[in-house]
């Protein structure tokens, strides 16, 4: 029984190119689990790597099922983040991954660490049959079982472009601004979640930007696309806008920072920033990108709600005057 479960999928997938063996677990693995479990991203136990799985197997299969379904504190998202997958398919995917290590474990049960070394011998003809798959798995090309699964993935039509695709870790267009039920933090089982507005429903008429909510909020006010209240009750209260630019010279070759009070006072009260975050005195504030990245200074808002730090040039906007002659010719003053 056990041997059949292990051998059959392998044989079937090799000889029939995976197409004839429509396994829900394998499909889900290729579609969802493989993103982390192929290369071991974020500490995920790797497909076919017995050493990764050994300590986890000690807890029993039921516990692995539970981790896959509900997620773990170590970083495994519930159902691998694919909440539309059925419980049965998720368990099948776990079985599929376990089968990969049980095979290597049975090849050399005494030393699981040596399994990857032993596997290439057993899998050599299969790996040779799919040279493209080896190239598609640079992280674990030496581990035969991983190459094997890629072979089946390729032949079943999932494409080798998955792994070497552009911007692999960036959020694709289809995953931006998801509705609450699909955003990974709202509970889709909660009735209130379904009542909540989807961000895209609100963003339609608003000017776009390249980061954050992908809405240019400053422009949205400038163009009067939105008119958020300045006072909780009084819809007619207007902010006191201060038009004062502060230029901060910065080290290195980055353009100097121009801080516009105007855009900030459209949204904020003076007391929001002064004096707790910024001492209102020239030269009194030690600001660094390190502090900003850690959520201090500008980073109190930028990188949380206001546009994120990836938009360097929105702040670093004043080109430095390049004065190479200054050192040799001080008389220019």
């Amino acid at each position: 029984m056990k041997i059949e479960r292990v051998i059959l999928p392998v044989l079937m997938s090799v000889f029939f190119g995976g197409a004839a063996f429509a396994d829900a677990g394998k499909d889900l693995y290729n579609k969802t689990c493989a993103v982390c479990h192929a290369a071991g991203i974020a500490g995920a136990p790797r497909f076919g790597n017995a050493a990764d799985w050994q300590p986890r197997l000690a807890g029993g299969t039921a516990r692995l099922y539970a981790s896959a379904l509900k997620g773990t504190a170590k970083g495994m998202p519930a159902k691998g983040g694919n909440l539309t997958a059925s419980d049965g398919d998720v368990k099948a995917a776990v079985d599929f991954m376990l089968a990969s290590v049980k095979k290597t474990a049975s090849a050399s049960p005494a030393k699981p660490a040596a399994a990857p070394a032993a596997a290439p011998v057993a899998a050599a003809p299969k790996a040779a049959a799919a040279p493209a798959a080896m190239a598609a798995a640079p992280v674990a090309a030496a581990v035969a079982p991983v190459a094997k699964i890629d072979a089946t993935a390729n032949t079943s039509g999932a494409s080798a472009a998955d792994i070497n695709s552009f911007n692999r870790l960036l959020k694709p267009i289809g995953k931006r601004n998801p509705p609450p039920a699909e955003d990974g933090i709202h509970d889709p089982a909660n009735d209130g979640t379904l009542v909540l507005m989807a961000p895209l429903a609100a963003y339609g008429p608003l000017p776009k930007s390249l980061a954050g909510n992908r809405v240019n909020w400053v422009k949205a006010i400038d163009e009067k696309k939105i008119n958020p209240r300045w006072d909780r009750q009084d819809a007619n209260a207007a902010p006191v806008v201060i038009d004062l630019n502060i230029v901060r010279e910065v080290k290195g070759s980055m353009p100097d920072v121009v801080y516009p009070h105007k855009q900030h006072t459209e949204w904020l009260d003076c007391s929001n920033c002064h004096p707790a975050i910024f001492v209102p005195q020239k030269g009194a504030n030690a600001i660094s990108m390190a502090a900003i990245l850690l959520g201090e200074k500008c980073g109190v808002c930028h990188g949380k709600v206001a546009f994120p730090v990836s938009e360097c040039r929105l702040c670093h906007s004043k080109k430095k005057e390049f004065r190479p002659a200054q050192a040799t010719a001080p008389a220019t003053k």
């Binding site: 579609k31 993103v35 982390c36 504190a73 970083g75 998202p77 519930a78 983040g81 999932a158 494409s159 472009a161 998955d162 792994i163 695709s165 692999r168 959020k171 694709p172 289809g174 601004n177 998801p178 955003d183 990974g184 933090i185 709202h186 509970d187 909660n190 009735d191 209130g192 979640t193 009542v195 909540l196 961000p199 609100a202 954050g212 909510n213 809405v215 909020w217 958020p228 209240r229 300045w230 006072d231 909780r232 009750q233 902010p239 459209e266 949204w267 904020l268 009260d269 007391s271 929001n272 990245l293 959520g295 980073g299 109190v300 808002c301 990188g303 949380k304 709600v305 994120p308 730090v309």
Partner: protein
């Protein structure tokens, strides 16, 4: 698309499909600025609360909550509880059944997956140091 050979079109579709498949498990997908507040919720058997910044900034400028109502710029740093809200502090300043829907609609705020930690989603800190957040 028009004018290209069928082969090119097929290839483009295949690439698009591959991209979708490859990114299907991106678990950091929440809207930028969504704040999960789980100071007491989990312990009280409620789902953690989610504050959608984007929805509120369409309607109010930062000053209203962060200056007038006294919300500190820190996720989970305000010690908000339901008694204060019912008393008209924090969320309760608007969520009182007059300016906005009132506290009976528990599940509209308390809508996060149980166990979701307090954090600002998609924030730089969340991306830089997810491990540090989980330890907390």
């Amino acid at each position: 698309m028009i004018g290209r050979s069928p082969w090119q079109r097929w290839f483009a579709i295949l690439l698009a499909f591959a991209a979708i498949v490859a990114f299907d498990t991106d678990d950091a997908r929440a809207e930028y600025g969504d704040v999960v507040i789980n100071n007491y919720s989990d312990a009280a058997g409620m789902r953690p609360a989610i504050f959608p910044h984007w929805f509120h900034r369409v309607r109010f400028r930062c000053k209203v909550c962060h200056a007038d109502l006294g919300f500190k710029f820190k996720a989970g740093g305000n010690e908000i509880n339901m008694v204060k809200i019912i008393d008209g502090q924090f969320c309760g300043a608007c969520h009182n059944g007059e300016l906005a829907w009132s506290v009976e609609n528990c599940n509209l705020c308390h809508s996060a997956k149980p166990g979701t930690p307090t954090q600002v989603h998609e924030s730089t800190i969340q991306k830089l140091a997810p491990a540090a957040l989980q330890k907390k």
